[in-house]
Every structure is written in structure tokens, then in C-alpha cells.
Assembly symmetry: C2
Homo-oligomer: 238 residues x 2
Amino acid sequence: MSATGSLVGIGVGPGDPDLITVKGLRALRAAPVLAYPAPESGESLARAIVAPHLNGGEAKTEIPIRMPMVAARFPAREVYDWAARAIGEHLDAGRDVACLCEGDPFFYGSFSFLFERMVERYPVRVIPGVSSLTACAAAAGAPLATRSDVLAVVPATLGEAELRTRLEAADAAAIIKVGRHLPKVRAVLDSLGLLAGAHYVERATMERERLLPLAELGDAAAPYFSMVLVHRRGFAWS
Amino acid sequence: MSATGSLVGIGVGPGDPDLITVKGLRALRAAPVLAYPAPESGESLARAIVAPHLNGGEAKTEIPIRMPMVAARFPAREVYDWAARAIGEHLDAGRDVACLCEGDPFFYGSFSFLFERMVERYPVRVIPGVSSLTACAAAAGAPLATRSDVLAVVPATLGEAELRTRLEAADAAAIIKVGRHLPKVRAVLDSLGLLAGAHYVERATMERERLLPLAELGDAAAPYFSMVLVHRRGFAWS
């Protein structure tokens, strides 16, 4: 009888394939089964990030975890229940499974939905990765936080009043999941006198990376992979 | 006449040598000059982290940035002024310099002191790294933040009242730079009803990594490389 396989969440980094860690790369290549989040149809970003590292390797079984594009149902419980069963079958058969995670698995990642379904029944570990947080700071060309700064990571999905309260309690902030919430984010920062120093970063370290002062950005919806960085002392973003 | 060299800050990750990125490793090996923070005497942690990757490579010029152990004078302005001059001489001579940074250069790193001295005069870029933040979450075995959580990174150096206010404004928190502030951190978390769920992580991913519920830790001073993770929904840390 074979031993149970183990599940490893690999942080593949923010987008540049070479921002995967040496440890993550080794685990990626060793795993016979790869799972990864994917849109309802089309390419998975996490899978695309590691693609250059898989060329010429041996064939792997792949499990795309495809999420229907219905915002109200995200995260779709049924999809993760299904993924947990599909991955569990491989683990039961003694095969290790690597789950590819954009950025870091435990930093606002959808991996947490898989993690909570697996951790009681199987060995699960995580290889941390470079998060979008520090990738955006590197792209913007200024420190995220220094010395005694309190840094807040604030999802733009919060209501306007709450967004304001949370930002007031921080010296530096990274506003994540900006997307369609861009006008609200801009209004809140403006009311706090922080708009002039706010920096917008889209697709950090990816091919179509885009950087500009938030004040210069139009009101079109930002993509999901965008972030606004702000600091009370007004770092000079490059 | 040779072109000016460029300065690259490399995030070498939290401690495990294999948590450096592929990109960071390449830049490390290519640089003819390495600078890194170091104690007044003895070994540099950043240098020790990359040591396994340098065996057998060609000799490099090394610039340890040695910081006197006088807490009141940290960061010692004179030391960084000196380091900026020493590094500047190499850049002027057309030699690239890599500065090794524990974790990520722009996440509470001493690299910011060097960065502010160099960025106006030389090409400077940063290769982001895995920060202690996500490394500690991976070690603790639970998500740092998910969904609409506001995550606060809070230095333990703040006063007790301010520490309380900042923690109240967050759903999840990472309290960094714990060191001798451990009794204060514990008292504040206790008063907020968060002590039972707080997790203590010391030297994440390093050889002497240590993990335990904060409530079980004695009152001896924690090392500088320690962090307390806490979440209002009380993740079950492993």
C-alpha cells in the first residue's frame, strides 16, 4: 500500500517567471500532478507564469481549477469542493500534488479555499513566494514601508466609509483588488489629501506592466491585477 | 570612458537559501561587487543566506556595511554615508554593485537608507524577494489574510496606546520587530482579547525556526527576527 501523497502550495511570484524561488522551481519540477486556478475558459495566469520552466520536462497530470465568471458566486464553493476531490484522489493514490499560486499562497490567495478543505486530511505545506505587494514597490521604485511605519493592506472592495477609516489608521497603504472600485478609491484618497502622492501599478513585473500617478489615470475600470500605493510621507515614486 | 555601473538591491528571502528567486540568484552571480548589512563584528545574515550559492564562483569585491551596536544611533547616518561613497566609487568606475537584503529590499529593509543616498545619482533597481511576512505565514501553516481582510503590519516599537489603536483597525496583523517589546505586545493583545489566537514565529525558514502560541512563550526577550501573527477569525495555526 502506498503512502499518502502531500499537497504543496507553491508561490510562483507576481508574474515575471524568474521571480519564482529556487525552492518553488524544484518542487514544481518534482511534482507529478499540477493544480492551478484558471478562468472559465482560456489560459491560467499561474500556469503561464511557470510555463517557461516546464519546457522539455516530463509530462504531468494537470488539474485546472476553472472558476465561473459570476462575481456574486465567487468563490464558488462547488468548484473548490470538486477540486478538493480531484486532488484528493491523487493524494490517496500516493501522488504528490503541487498547486500553483500567483504571488504567495497565503497572501489573499484562492489557495486558502483549497487549504481549508485539505489540511485536516492530508499533509499540506506552503512554499512562500514574492507577493504582488513587494513586486509593486519594486516596480514603483520606492520603499513600501520603513522604520516604524504601520503598513495596511486594504482591499478596495470595502465600503467607502470603511476604506477611509482603515486608511486613516496607516502610515503606508497598499490598496489591492482595485478593478472596478477605482473611482471610489480615488475619491477616498482625495478626501484624505493623499491623492497627489498615490501611485498606480498595473501588472507589476509582467509584460504589460503599467505605472503612473493615480491622479493621471482615467476613470476606466482597472484590471484585477492592479494596486494603489500610498505613503503619508510622500515617497517619490519613480 | 566606461559607463556608470548600476546598483541592484536583491531580496535574498527570509533565511532558507533556496527561497532566493531565480532572478535574484542570476543578479547575485553576475555582480562583481557585493554589499550587505553586517553587525559590528561577525557574520552578515544576508551574506550567510546566499553563501551556498557562491561556492566555486569567481571572486567578488565585498563591502560589508557594519552597523555599530548602539541602539540609540540606529541607523547610523555616518555608516550609510560611508557605504554610499564606497559603493559610489565602484559605480563611477563602471562596476555594477549588488546589495544583498534580507527578505525584500523595500519591505522595512535597511536598503532604504542606501537607496535614498543613491537614487538621484545612479541607476538603481530592486529585485523583490520573499518577505518575512509570507515566510512566517507559511511556517505557521495558515493564511495571513483572505478575501476582504485588512492586514496591518505593525512594528512592536510603537507605544502601547498606539499599538492598541492600530491593531483595532485590522482584521489580521503581523507584529514585527518584536525583540524586547514582547511583554508590551502580549499585554496589548490580551487587552484586545486576541492573545489566545496569537502565534509567535521566530527565525522563519531558518535552521533554528521556532513556532508556538504566544500565550505559551515566556517573557524572555525575543530575537529581532521574530513576529507575532494574529487574526480576528482565529485561524488554527499549526
